[in-house]
Symmetry: C2
Subunit: 218 residues, 2 copies
DNA sequence: GCGCAATTATGCGTGCGCGCATGTTTGTGC
DNA sequence: GCACAAACATGCGCGCACGCATAATTGCGC
């Protein structure tokens, strides 16, 4: 049940994207993110440096993308797929939590690196915006009147809440900043705490979801 | 009734910042934002190009700052100053609306330029993040238990909602993109619509504010 | 006033993001 | 198949953001 036919062109594009992202991650983990030049990444992926910039706006985004790729749709489809006899707020919360725990589960060292380097942190937080569009669509489908504007506000608020949770989670971890050039050192990232923070942050928005759903206050 | 003493040093800093921002705006309005080099701005402000970058991360931020400078604190102090027998949601909403109508009131042509040029739009939207910190502090002061985490989530959600409203307001205006190099042409910006959009977007979050305040549900 | 510490301004060098022009590949109608 | 259009890859060039090292400026204690 693959999604119809991506077409050869599209598949090649994704392959290139993947290759670039993988190369960026590998090199960054090996020698530290500051010692990776764009040319290195491009060469490792077998494309020209200029082409690299057609896929990613910055080195940081290429690295972060390895962790976040597909997460947006993961959240959106989880929301869309869930039975409608649950509170929307809960459905969204669990979808978000799952995607993030899952992410930091599959790339533990990468997560350490991202959380300990300022530019990567920024790119990571910045990427939370990417959920907005798919999530907004999924939400609209489950709202009375398919209220598009309301859905947009809720979606972007979710992204904002996620950002807050991530910031709060990252800060404690970032005890000391590693030297400018240095590969990643092992360090325990408390994933469990992230889930709690996400839930706490999103719970603040729950009343807004309830109201939008038409569930009365309380 | 100036706030204590900023100190000479601090005043000079602000003066430089102001000079840079003013120069950036003036040149951008005169010859179009694409025809303004960083060196021009620095020269017009009487500082070195390198110094310019100690104040603004990009050309765009220098321009946008002229409109947004102080707005963050404006919103925050408005929230802090308001009598506490109003719904927090209403107080915040009106504070936001006032600051934005006021802003586009004082710099009409600048607003046209910002809304019609993609890079400036982005910088403008990006700058909504700056309200978060002061607003968060102001909100915390008015929440039961001074719940800092809740305040942060609410503040960033407000910023997000504002972003959505601005995006929705900008899109209709941006009918056709001006040529790459061109000074600003006159064009009517429907400010009233912005206020409505802001109110609509923020009303979605109102239930969350009520709940955080302890009113509303039960 | 005077000198010392902290802050700020400046110069220089490097890597980068991206617009533009051009060659190359992929998809489509006949 | 074949030609034609659309999408993509690449090379080149220009500003630009920013780290680092250094000089100038400011503030403070005495």
């Amino acid at each position: 049940m693959t999604t119809a036919r991506p077409g050869l062109r599209e598949r090649k594009k994704q392959a290139t994207r993947q290759a670039l992202s993988d190369a960026a991650v590998r090199l960054a983990l090996e020698r530290g993110p500051d010692q990776v030049r764009v040319d290195d990444i491009a060469e490792a992926a077998g494309v020209s440096p200029r082409t690299y910039n057609n896929y990613f706006r910055s080195r940081e985004h290429a690295i972060v993308s390895a962790v976040l790729a597909g997460r947006e749709d993961g959240i959106a489809t989880a929301v869309a797929a869930h039975p409608s006899d649950h509170r929307l707020a809960d459905v969204v919360t669990e979808a978000v939590v799952e995607q993030f725990t899952d992410a930091s589960d599959q790339h533990p060292q990468l997560m350490v690196m991202i959380t300990t380097r300022a530019p990567l942190r920024e790119a990571f937080l910045e990427s939370t915006i990417d959920v907005e569009s798919p999530l907004s669509a999924a939400l609209a489908a489950r709202l009375p009147d398919r209220a598009a504007d309301t859905a947009r506000v809720l979606a972007s608020s979710v992204a904002a809440a996620v950002r807050v949770a991530l910031e709060g989670w990252i800060r404690p971890v970032a005890g000391e900043e590693p030297a400018r050039g240095a590969a990643v050192s092992s360090l325990v990232v408390p994933v469990g705490a992230l889930a709690d923070r996400l839930r706490a942050a999103l719970s603040v928005l729950a009343p807004a979801f309830d109201a939008a759903e038409g569930i009365g206050p309380r």
